[in-house]
Symmetry: D2
């Protein structure tokens, strides 16, 4: 089938390449003309604007957006709007908030599929896991492309109506934060603990048959192999957090306790404290003087 892809960053490019490999025709566009040219070199038909891409697709357009979540999605949809009708399908493969996706599904003239995409650039070869929300017919229509972009038929599924794909992806990311922190705690204890251990060997041994084996643990193994068992100069600072924040916000609304996800998210916030450090700790330090005359540590 024929697929338009808008947004040719690392992730969009994987969508293009995997679709081409599976024999689909791809029309590709990016604001960056070089990215468009590179996709063309790989076999895609280049478009020089959103409108041009829409024109080239003809009737029954299938368009995959892989642009940054937020305003870029709305801007692209606005440009697409006059070219779309009810027989077209638009897929948003980015990390949009499910509430935005529901809103866009309501206002988009085409059928709208919100598609949570997991696996990251690292899984270009193996394929993604795709969590799709939206009308069933549109999901079925896109199935050949999903088969190509995902790890195969088992790597994608329709979760439910509009928003559900990004909803499931949001929760996925919340869990991801907690898993990373859980492994981190274990390796921190091994690192600080009473034996002098080769953490790469530990991770490798665990990855071969242990209950906690996982892809993230394979990435830990890789990290220790590439950075050394003490992680070299890797800094004690963790960026990111938006999807984890969304997960906690939704859980607050649903009154579902997520202490592990919350704590993992908090660790990221804490890792980004300013020069003075955490105010709560500074107060605790001073309070110990207040009641116990314990010496106040000062900068």
């Amino acid at each position: 089938m024929q697929l338009g892809v808008i947004g040719l960053g690392r992730m969009g490019r994987i969508v293009v390449d995997r679709s081409l490999d599976a024999g689909h025709d791809v029309v590709a566009f990016d604001l960056d003309a070089e990215a468009t040219a590179a996709a063309a070199e790989a076999g895609a038909i280049p478009a020089d604007s959103v409108a041009d891409l829409a024109d080239r697709l003809g009737e029954g357009k299938r368009i995959w957006l892989m642009v940054p979540a937020g305003d870029a999605v709305d801007a692209t949809l606005e440009e697409l709007d006059p070219h779309l009708d009810g027989g077209d399908v638009v897929v948003d493969g980015g990390n949009s908030h499910f509430g935005d996706s529901t809103r866009r599904a309501d206002s988009c003239p085409a059928a709208y599929l919100d598609c949570g995409t997991s696996g990251g650039p690292a899984s270009a070869e193996a394929g993604f896991s795709l969590m799709v929300g939206g009308p069933e017919w549109a999901y079925e229509e896109l199935t050949p492309v999903f088969d190509a972009v995902a790890t195969g038929p088992a790597g994608h599924d329709r979760m439910g109506p509009a928003g559900s794909g990004h909803y499931v992806k949001m929760v996925h990311n919340g869990v991801e934060y907690a898993l990373m922190q859980a492994y981190g705690e274990g390796f921190e204890l091994l690192h600080e603990g009473r034996y002098d251990l080769d953490l790469e060997a530990v991770a490798r041994t665990w990855n071969n048959g242990a209950v906690i084996r996982s892809w993230l643990l394979e990435l830990c193994e890789e990290a220790f192999r590439e950075e050394g068992a003490d992680l070299g100069d890797v800094a004690d600072r963790v960026e990111g957090g938006s999807t984890g924040t969304w997960t906690v916000q939704e859980a607050l609304e649903q009154e579902v306790p997520l202490p592990l996800v919350y704590t993992a998210l908090s660790e990221r916030f804490g890792s980004r404290a300013g020069e003075d450090g955490r105010f709560s700790r500074r107060l605790a330090n001073r309070l110990r003087y207040g009641f116990g005359r314990h010496e106040v540590q000062r900068e």
Copy 2:
């Protein structure tokens, strides 16, 4: 090579079977004569006592203990003691505390290997992950058996000196608690949240290419498949906790924060509260009346 196996429960039996499959000779003993007979039927040489097993092994004994952690290990070692010398090797494949293993390594006449074993009965076919502590020569001596019992050469490694195998296994289990709770939080939010989702389909989609794919997530998928997406009559009560407790205790000594492991362990404790529920919540309920005259919920 020739291996004595003492303790023929589910786990010990897997050691026997995998060793036999790999062409090793096995002498097997269990306090339960039926278990010994069953192992004999599978090809092992039956022994009718610990002493008999020791006799049958001759010089350079290699003995694998797979008995319950605690007193049973000490009792078996005491029985073995007069039959052992420095050329023998004893493996403790159970979930012993690393402190016990260090103590036993000191007092055992044979070389002593503490061997953390992960994978559980469910991995009888694929093999275990084995984390081994103790003298290097003894570890190398046992390598053919470890190759057979583990998933292969990558599924076992020597972590370090005495105790380190069970130490790494202890931390493994702490991480395991946190991973289970992390997935639990995610699925709880999906279950209670705003979409009506097929959790088996979610787990399957995640297991095919998503960042959080893992063996535990495959077990989640299996659980939803077998119990239904709402987990049927599975109770809100989680048993176990000793290795998690050990992990937290060790982290307290090392002054390493493990908030996720601790919280996961706490959830188990909380799930086992008595009929009256959690005292802390009952007090909070009452305090809200104290300052705000909010009605007290009563049984």
Copy 3:
């Protein structure tokens, strides 16, 4: 001075009574005519509508709203709107979200003071703590009334511009949740622990000189005295949570970790789980079978 009070529930009535006691004139109105009549009996001038109350106040109106946070505040402000001008002052003494207060301050023709009120009905005699946000002149204008309604001059202060009073009150409540849970944890351990203790005596001893003495601990002491050291039939269920939720939401936006406040809030959510209990625990229970063939607890 002359004060109009709208909303004569437990809290509004305290405002009326403490103002009257301090020699102020009070015009009082409540949708419930009986409540208005009761206030009249106590010495207030009754009004039979919001408009009537506004009329009776004349120029330079000072009006205290003590109605439930949310729509009731907006509805009352709408009724008041035609009667207000820039020389009037409206105080919202309820538990409004600071964002609503900022919005209302913008649209209200009068000067608007958001006033966080702590102490609850229990402190009718001692007076409240009042955290006030809004224009300085309006705060100063109301000072005689604040002196009367609070514990005295030290019991109220202007926190800053519009919204800051309810903001500080929101954080106060988040901290309150955590303090209640902290005491709850301590008493739960004492209750379940290795000594048979008289918790009322413990609380009393602590309240007399210990570092952790506080008003909440006095309420614990009262609770044990009135309910018994095992809290009798007080249920394991904690209602409420909105201001704690707001606190966590704001902290997510500010990227400030609040693990204790969050955990305390989570305990409330957890205490209100349905009949089936917590899904995360049920999954953990089942997973233990998945990898370890541990028996599944069932309902």
Copy 4:
């Protein structure tokens, strides 16, 4: 009555002074002769050794130990041992572990009272809160001294048998950690949040009538007054932790969840991480590259 006091540090000296003020006779000893001399100047009878102190007390000795918890207590008890019989009473007013106290009560020839002491040097004037464990007759015998050293009769009580005094004090300290952290979270959010607030004014307003008023909050107020609302050069590092650790250890044995106490303790551990920072965060940082090719922050 006559009281021997061994250990004349800040806390022991308060015991001496408050006892003298109440009209008791005090025999005082400290390894530091200057401390003994200073106590003598205040009115105590100086002793130049433990034996000398014992001699001066005659029959029916009442001795208060205020020496550092641990070996110093055992060493002092060993010196006292030959001078004691069953009619004597020894009070350990330090922060001993309840298990040590139970052991000492068993082996001490005198009646042994373990006495948790809260309030710290800061409450020299107001008196302590004393939580006492041990034989009833000994507690009653010492009541006149407890009345003097505590805030009065309500400031001390017999919690139960040997060990229970230090047990209750241990839990007190665990709660104390959590309370400090709870206030710290609140003030951190106010400090980082959207208003520019005078935290001393916030604390003062709260201390006058708010639900969360407490002595610790008065110490917060004092801290902001003395250090400034941003706490000046107070460092982000919190020392101490032993009694919190004991509390968590006991709760693990009793299977009681203490997530707030644990988290508060963890914050202290975390605040004392080495130069490289927290290993768990460094791993999370690197893992984000592993799956998402997010740039790795490096030192």
